[in-house]
Amino acid sequence: MRTLQTPLSEEDVRSLKLGETVYLSGPIVTGRDEMHIRALEYSEEGRDVPECLQGSVIFHCGPIMRQRDDGSWTVVAAGPTTSARMNKLEPEMIPTFNIRAIVGKGGMSRETAEAMRDYGCVYLAATGGAAVSLAEGLDRCVGCEWEDLGMAEAMWRFEAKRFGPLIVAIDAEGNSLYDRVSESLVRDA
């Protein structure tokens, strides 16, 4: 199983095969509804957006964080949230910030898959609810942007170390494992 070093290049991303299991090491940021909405709003208004978002891996996650006495943060639990909530936002996020990978659960829309194909991005499925194991892979919290959005919605910055396992569930050709499963679902068994 491959461990990929982030930030990912377009070449890295395009080499990933549907259904492949990978791990990630390096910078990762979290983002849910509010982070996406603000990033796109600020970008449109020409305001500063944290640089860490550029070319990043976004983890759809609202972690449980604990603040140490010295003010630094440590992650307690960090599993993926339902990615479908960001379906309307990712097709614009991906080209605006050159997002190379999105980590989440439950899959994403055809429009998002098409943006992934057009701009070179993949969707990596993390195991929903596996929050303690996944938190172990987010070795170190290196900062928090937009803390005013609250613990779940803020943009947490992590330095990951063998974060996973992650399944390539939408590849950079726009092929989706969810579509394949959905097409062959037996509803009348």
């Binding site: 449980i64 479908a84 659960k105 609810g129 172990e136 609250g150 969810y178 499963v181 679902l185």
Partner: protein, 291 residues
């Protein structure tokens, strides 16, 4: 089962309940996951089940919440109690949020303002079932949004019958796809009024998976749906495989002659529950209960 001395305030018991529910998966759910891993032949599905079981072990060992979505805690109070119990439960939730810690999930529905304590207007949600028993039983079901958002209610026509119910449940589970974190537990309410129907669907999630339904017709419906849903191919996290559900639970009650209400409330693989039965002799904790 742990028996602790009485004189423990309800507030402390609530903190214990939330800790138990969030850090330790009920044994029956764990067994169902292990059984699934035994029959699952799809490689991706097997990876998902393996990651889930490893996570469950780590959470219990480290005393950490198994999932970051520690949910909205839904409480059921049964037996003898007085009105002071609501305040004590609220204080327990506030303390548990800091102590365990739980993620502050509770927000105003419109402003989305979050006070950080998992309290707020109408919170915590408590269902009261007064009985003449000589105990007070407090049960908590922390309900994450991934599964809760997939809740469905249908006011079917009586003519739709069992086949209509079956169709509705299968569509509800399969349309939800990977979003409610399958393999899931499917809670089904049949009958009542619309509100009671949804309540029943959720209440079934409290019943241990290895406890048989005493109604033969409902047991057959549970078994048939279990086989159909696991034959659907949706699989863990919606990535394919033969483990879509860990269990199906049905509860019914009477309804209007012109109605056939059906509700589906899905529990994720991390269906977390804990009960405390308080008697004059002490407090007994468990992780599954039939209300």
């Amino acid at each position: 089962m742990t028996v602790i001395k009485l004189s423990e305030p309800v507030e402390d018991i609530v903190v214990n309940l939330l800790r138990l529910a969030n850090t330790k998966l009920p044994a029956d759910v764990g067994w169902a996951l292990e059984a699934a891993a035994g029959w699952e032949t799809n490689e991706v599905a097997y990876t998902q089940l393996g990651a889930i079981m490893e996570n469950v072990k780590k959470a219990e060992h480290l005393g950490l919440p198994m999932c970051q979505d520690t949910g909205i805690p839904v409480f059921y109070v049964r037996g003898r109690f007085d009105s002071s119990i609501a305040g004590e439960i609220a204080r327990g939730v506030e303390r548990a949020t800091k102590a365990i810690p739980l993620r502050p999930n509770t927000v105003d529905p419109l402003t989305r303002e979050n006070h950080g304590d998992n309290l707020g207007e109408g919170m915590p949600i408590i269902h009261y079932i007064p009985t003449d028993d000589d105990f007070t039983e407090i049960t908590v079901l922390p309900k994450g949004a991934g599964s809760e958002n997939m809740t469905r209610l249908a006011m079917l026509n009586p003519a739709d019958g069992v086949e209509g119910i079956r169709r509705f449940v299968i569509d509800a589970v399969l349309d939800a796809g990977g979003r409610p974190c399958p393999p899931s537990i499917v809670g089904i309410g049949i009958g009542g009024t619309s509100d009671r129907c949804v309540e029943m669907a959720k209440e079934t999630l409290l019943v241990p998976l290895d406890e048989e339904n005493s109604d033969p017709a409902l047991r057959k419906m549970e078994e048939d749906l279990f086989v159909s849903l696991n034959g659907s191919g949706l699989g863990p996290m919606g990535l394919g495989g033969s483990t879509t559900v860990l269990g199906v639970k049905v509860r019914k009650c009477s309804c209007h002659t012109a109605s056939l209400p059906v509700a589906v409330n899905i529990g994720c693989w991390a269906t977390r529950r804990a009960s405390a039965r308080i008697t004059d002799h002490g407090v007994e904790y468990s992780q599954g209960v039939r209300l």
